[in-house]
């Protein structure tokens, strides 16, 4: 395991909310990528976190771009660096709204045409930057400002959409496991072509839990099996350690749900539906890992 570099590319201090898991992720992503990197950031929390003109906490080039355009802008950068014979890493760092909703066309296009870049979606399961409106990534039953009675439909399965593009590397990660994330970013950047990492990023104000529980909430998502950590390298799936244990002996789903104010109105029927979905997802991944497809 490579040592985590001491350098910090997020200077003290960003304007992120206290306990922001996205800032934590960004620390490890930039440590893994190093200074020869450009981050492409569409409208999302990170547009604000970086700070206001003329100062920024980001000690790495950041190219801000309109909501729907991140993956396409990254394509332009990546191809331009190739034209200039430079090896600069191009990393999109986008929220779930900019990925699963408005940005999915650009994402799909960039993956289909084999753009050499890493797309990272930090998923806090709603439009966080604008005050928690529902997104396609909001889970069933979660209250947001536009689903005040709880979201009636389920979370869009982004990973299966990306998987359909057959990228050389894709992985899930969670902010509660920063070293795992660091390792995955390192690996992704060692591979040519379009790479994808989907990070579950708990959000204290959005999910309605107190800030100190950010790590605990992420770990609960993994331990209950709600979020499965895995990597798919050239089509070969590996379920990562913490999730392996969780699959063998999952923590009760209620432990994850009850700690979050957004799930206040979840009915027993919804909980059962969540459990079934979670199980179906785990079964599918386990079968794939075992080579039973």
């Amino acid at each position: 395991m490579t040592a985590i570099p001491k350098e910090e590319y997020l200077l003290k201090c960003t304007s992120a909310c206290a306990g922001c898991s996205s800032s934590l992720c960004l620390r490890y992503i930039t440590k893994a990528a190093g200074p020869d990197t450009v981050l492409v950031v569409p409208a999302c929390c990170t547009s604000v976190i970086q700070g206001m003109y003329p100062n920024t906490a980001m000690d790495i080039p950041v190219y801000n771009i309109a909501f729907a355009a991140a993956a396409a802008c990254a394509s332009g950068l990546s191809n331009a660096f190739r034209a200039l014979r430079r090896e600069t890493n191009v990393i999109v760092y986008a929220g779930d709204g900019g990925t699963v909703d408005i940005g999915i066309q650009a994402l799909s296009g960039a993956f289909e045409r084999g753009t050499d870049f890493l797309y990272i979606c930090y998923d806090n399961e709603a439009y966080g930057n604008t005050g928690m409106q529902r997104s396609g990534a909001t889970p069933l039953g979660a209250r947001t400002t536009t689903t005040p009675g709880g979201k009636p439909t389920t979370k869009k399965d982004l990973d299966r959409i990306v998987e359909a593009h057959d990228p050389p590397y894709m992985a899930t990660a969670c902010s509660a496991y920063p070293l795992d994330l660091f390792k995955k970013v390192k690996k992704a950047l060692s591979i040519r072509g379009p790479k994808f990492i989907h990070i579950l990023a708990p959000c204290p104000p959005g999910w309605r839990y107190s800030a100190e529980k950010t790590i605990e909430m992420g770990k609960l998502a993994v331990k209950t099996g709600t979020w499965v950590l895995y990597e798919r390298e050239y089509g070969n799936l590996t379920i990562n350690g913490p999730s392996k244990a969780a699959i063998r002996k999952p923590a009760p789903l209620e432990d994850y749900i009850k700690g979050q104010g957004r799930f206040k109105g979840v009915t027993p029927a919804m909980l059962e539906q969540m459990r079934q979905q979670m199980q179906a997802n785990i079964t599918r991944l386990v079968r794939e890992e075992e080579g039973i497809c």
Partner: protein, 81 residues
Amino acid sequence: MRERLALSRPTEASSGKTGSWRTFRPVVDREKCNACGLCAQFCPDSVIDEDLVIDIEFCKGCGICAAECPKEAITMVREDR
């Protein structure tokens, strides 16, 4: 050269001294601390340095360090303001 577009330069304290955001301040009990470094690892704002000293000018007081400390060596203490 005239500045044609909004470009921000890396600056410490770009969002001000964020320590003022705090309601609770982390206080480390050096007796209990075994220097495992998990507090620094999990700090979203990288305000805990290599020697595990918390930069109180910038710490937003989220309490993650206290919550994740396996030795319960960090206590969140109400700021006296």
